[in-house]
Amino acid sequence: MPADNNWVTLLATNDRRGGVAAAARKPPTELIWKATLGDVIRSSPVLCDGVLYVTCRDGRLYAFDSRNGRERWRYQAQAALHSTPSISGNLVLFGADDGTVNALDRASGARRWQVASAGEVWASPTVYDDTVYAGSTGGDLTAIDRATGQQRWRRQLEARICATPYVSDRRIFLGCSDGRLMALDRGTGKDLWVHRAADGVVASPAVDGGLVLVGSEDYFFYAVDVESGKVRWKVETGLGVTSSAAVADGRVFFGGRDGHLYALSAADGREIWKSRPMRAIIAPPLAADGFVCIQSFYGATQAFESTTGKELWRAALGGSVASTPIVADEAVYLATYPGVVYALR
């Protein structure tokens, strides 16, 4: 878990390490609270200062008190929501199917700004310093001033962008549906390098040890040099990879559409372990304190020991398409596809 006990974006923080200090190795046995929302939930919840934020396909973003599930506020958007929210300062940011990127006041739910893009925004907006980055299915990537909502630059990449970009000091790393894995200049949006996979790159990249780590629909998982864009290693999987990777303690974890959860050495791609096949996995796993956790499409939330792949626990609470649980010190928070949010202990 991050030091401030918050979980502010997909896989906890912008470094995609997935909450490495979390401490729920034992199975949850007690329901603290649950909330049934008005439609399915495709996104992951985020947590900040005792408030759990969840987007729902009914077009609402909900803010719950994480201790008791009491609803603090809700915001009704004008379209379905599939995007995992991000927290930055006093704002909660999310995309909508009407092609907008939205910023709400975190305390009240009042809208602060809204920016239009060329297509549905399913990715989670990424915030770095004072800029918000968001891609859309219309093929555009937009950089937005976090405080004002003013557009700083926009690039039309002519391919769907469904994954959350990874942003570092100088670069933006993102994948496109046409197979491009790109590094863009953070200030201008211009190309720094492009690696072309044989099929779409629709997962969100992670960065570790000077490598961009991401899977492709071409059945390979790639480690690409941050500076040059050259492939350092790649590992073949059974089918395409949509699941975004989480990185912890030199290991990279991701699910495959072939139903396996993979654990590889981040340094050289060596397979450390591979789970028994489940149904297709497209959700990102989270890598936490000695264990890795996944919500699979047809089934349960499962936790595995990160070093061996031994199953530690499973909670059969309904499947998930793309949601990742939050494993905090005090609770596990899950959003299931049927639209139920659980807080478990």
Partner: protein, 395 residues
């Protein structure tokens, strides 16, 4: 919109069973028509406007089957091969040498084209992204912009798990009908994926909700539908081909039509396909048999029951295409010693979970005769002797 109600309630069809000698490979002969009277179905729909493009379309009784040995390379569907297959088979179907001329028969730049995919199987056996991309390329080639193209199915979770939302070209809309906000910018005030004014009403097994509504994309938005089913067995309907993909993927509340071991897929599938908007807008059927399923459908979880047929079947006549599909699946089942799709041996009935384990068991008496029933409703040609089947093999 001018609407009327039809009631299908003809004489009860008779199923002729013929048990062969022995055991698990007992075969039944194809049953006689008609199942139309076996279930009373009231259809509330707009008047059907006759059009040359409406099913059975421009080429009744014609099916082009194309096989490309390189369609799968190193376990992956090879999109350049799919491109070749599509171009040659469209040329063969239409007689047009230029692929754009062939496609121009079916779509114009102002059309809103809905692509009905089949995402309900295991990831390896759904309508392939490669085929979807090539169909979109072909539509772009005749001037249909991506913003005018909608990919749809009943289940948005299956669409997402199988990558349609993330992998098709920018600007193409991907819509699960179970989603309240079905279409961006839609004027549909209740934001439902289904049209409350177009439905089939029937009571199959005493269920509480007896209506099945048609997708509002079909009734209100699309001007053309290109159907992209898979070549696969179905545990209730025998095969899930053009007809089932259209009917059960465009209407809601359809799982109620089967309760082990009885299914009403015949006559529900053909009646649904005959409903005006669906019949008149479905202009072309391209069946993805690159990977095909001979048992365990529609989900196809067991890869043992999947084979690399490397095939596309193309036609405007869904009955003829499904008839050929039926022959292909039957042939494959014969090769592996599995009971016929027409099998009526109670000893071969099993639980739903059995179909993942063995090709000898099935929870239903399958009803592939829905294809013949569709021909009775004028949707196409059932008689093999009257189907012009052209087999192309790419060298």
């Amino acid at each position: 919109m001018d609407r009327r109600t039809f009631v299908y309630n003809a004489a009860l069809g008779t199923l002729h069973l013929a048990w062969g000698p022995g055991s698990g490979l007992v075969r039944a002969q194809e049953p006689s028509p008609s199942a139309l009277g076996s279930l009373k179905i009231a259809v509330h729909a707009p008047e059907f406007t006759p059009s040359p493009l409406a099913m059975p379309g421009l080429f009744p009784g014609r099916v082009v089957q194309i096989v490309h040995p390189q369609a799968i390379q190193d376990r992956r569907i090879f999109q350049p091969a799919v491109q070749v297959m599509l171009a040659r088979s469209m040329a063969a179907l239409t007689g047009d040498k230029n692929p754009a001329d062939a496609w121009a028969r079916f779509a114009t730049p102002t059309d809103i084209v809905a692509l009905k995919v089949n995402p309900s199987s295991a990831p390896a056996t759904v309508t392939s992204i490669a085929l979807v991309r090539e169909v979109i390329n072909a539509l772009n080639g005749v001037g249909v912009p991506n913003r005018n193209i909608i990919i749809y199915d009943r289940n948005s979770n299956q669409l997402e798990v199988n990558g349609y939302h993330t992998q098709v070209p920018a600007g193409v809309r991907v819509v699960g009908l179970d989603q309240r906000w079905s279409v961006k910018g839609s004027s549909d005030v209740n934001r439902s994926g289904y049209d409350p004014d177009v439905y089939c009403e029937m009571d199959c097994f005493g269920e509480r909700e007896t209506r099945s509504y048609l997708a509002s994309i079909v009734t209100r938005e699309a001007t053309k539908i290109i159907n992209l089913p898979c070549l696969k067995e179905h545990n209730a309907s025998g095969v899930t081909g053009c007809l089932k993909n259209l009917a059960y993927g465009s209407f809601n509340n359809v799982a109620r039509t089967h309760v082990d071991p009885k299914t009403y897929t015949d006559p529900v599938i053909p009646v649904m396909c005959s409903v005006g908007p669906l019949r008149s807008k479905s202009v072309l059927h391209i069946m993805d048999g690159i990977r095909a399923v001979y048992h365990g459908g529609p989900f196809g979880w067991n890869p043992e029951f999947v084979w690399e047929a490397k095939t596309l079947l193309i036609g405007t006549d869904p009955v003829a295409v499904d008839r050929i599909e039926l022959e292909i699946v039957e042939q494959k089942r014969r090769e592996v010693g599995a009971p016929s799709l027409w099998d009526r041996n109670p000893a071969n009935l099993g639980r739903s979970s059995d179909i993942e384990r063995t090709a000898q068991k099935n929870p239903f008496y399958r009803e592939p005769n829905h294809i013949r029933t569709a021909s009775e409703l004028g949707l196409g040609v059932w008689d093999l002797a009257k189907i012009r089947r052209e087999l192309l093999v790419v060298n």
